[in-house]
């Protein structure tokens, strides 16, 4: 078998902020109502913390994001996704839920640097000043869906894999040197 390749093979762009495509990351979609018995424990069993609404709970390489009242996004090393999926299903068996491996359906970007916010402010109708620490915001970047959260000295952005090149184009255009907002 070949190595899994990310959508853009780790393309990057250096503008007034740095743009990197990273990944592939392991990602699971978990659909389950908040009152499902054992949900917190099931998530804990695969090494992630159940997030508060609208939060991304990060723990090292792993994370769990609140996507909607009955949807979570689990992030973990790519190679562990299938096992974790099986484990979750196992833990939640008997409860109405759905787990799907979506690691390959996504592209992931890092936008880094002191002015990273400005790159995103050109594309997303999001009030970054009110974005709480650890907040996961699902919205739109120009004409495509994107989810972001602040992490390290920048942001992590997740979008669909098929639009990775478009996203890279958007981010590079927005980070063009000389086009700082302030």
């Amino acid at each position: 078998m070949s190595e899994p390749v990310s959508a853009l093979g780790h393309a990057s762009f250096d503008g007034f902020a740095r743009i990197r495509e990273i990944g592939p990351l392991g990602m699971l979609t978990l659909r389950a109502r908040p009152d499902v018995a054992g949900l917190t424990a099931a998530l804990a069993a695969i090494g992630v913390t159940r997030p508060e609404p609208r939060r991304m709970a990060l723990t090292g390489e792993r994370g769990c994001g609140w996507m909607s009242p009955d949807e979570y996004l689990v992030i973990l090393p790519y190679d562990e996704a299938n096992a974790a999926m099986a484990a979750l299903s196992q833990q939640l068996s008997g409860e109405h839920h759905l787990v799907a491996n979506v690691s390959d359906a996504r592209a992931v970007f890092r936008i880094e640097g002191a002015k990273a916010t400005q790159v995103l402010a050109k594309l997303m109708p999001v009030d970054f000043a009110t974005l709480a620490p650890g907040e996961l915001r699902r919205s739109r970047a120009a004409q495509t869906a994107a989810a972001i959260w602040a992490e390290g000295d920048g942001f992590t952005l997740v979008c669909f894999r098929s639009v990775a090149q478009y996203m890279m184009g958007l981010l590079s255009h927005s980070a063009m040197p000389g086009s700082e907002l302030f």
Partner: protein, 106 residues
């Protein structure tokens, strides 16, 4: 360019993050309904100039459908609430009546 608060995730979302879905609280009729009932369900619309209840989906956000009470003449939004109900919450109806005393009611 409307902004509506998604009742599920609490985000004040702008219109471009949402997808509109037409009149709310339509009662589905299926096989067995009369032609008039089916026509009324499928096509006849209140289309009021004033207080209106309508469906929206937080399409670029949590993906959930919710309902909004909005004035189609001023675009004032009286409130939003989850889609899983067959009538607007009483508190919301009271609020609307306070703002629009001549409202004929839901």
């Amino acid at each position: 360019m409307l902004t509506l608060e998604c009742p599920y995730c609490g985000v004040m979302a702008e219109e471009t993050e949402l997808a509109p879905g037409g009149e709310a609280h339509l009662k589905r009729v299926g096989p067995g309904s009369t032609p008039e009932e089916f026509e009324a369900y499928m096509f006849a619309r209140k289309n009021p100039k004033g207080v209106h209840f309508e469906r929206w989906r937080h399409a670029y956000g949590c993906g959930k459908w919710f309902l909004a009470a909005r004035c189609t003449a001023t675009l004032e939004v009286f409130g939003t609430y989850p889609a899983q109900c067959s009538a607007p919450p009483q508190a919301l109806q009271d609020k609307i009546r306070a703002r629009r005393p001549d409202w004929k009611g839901f």
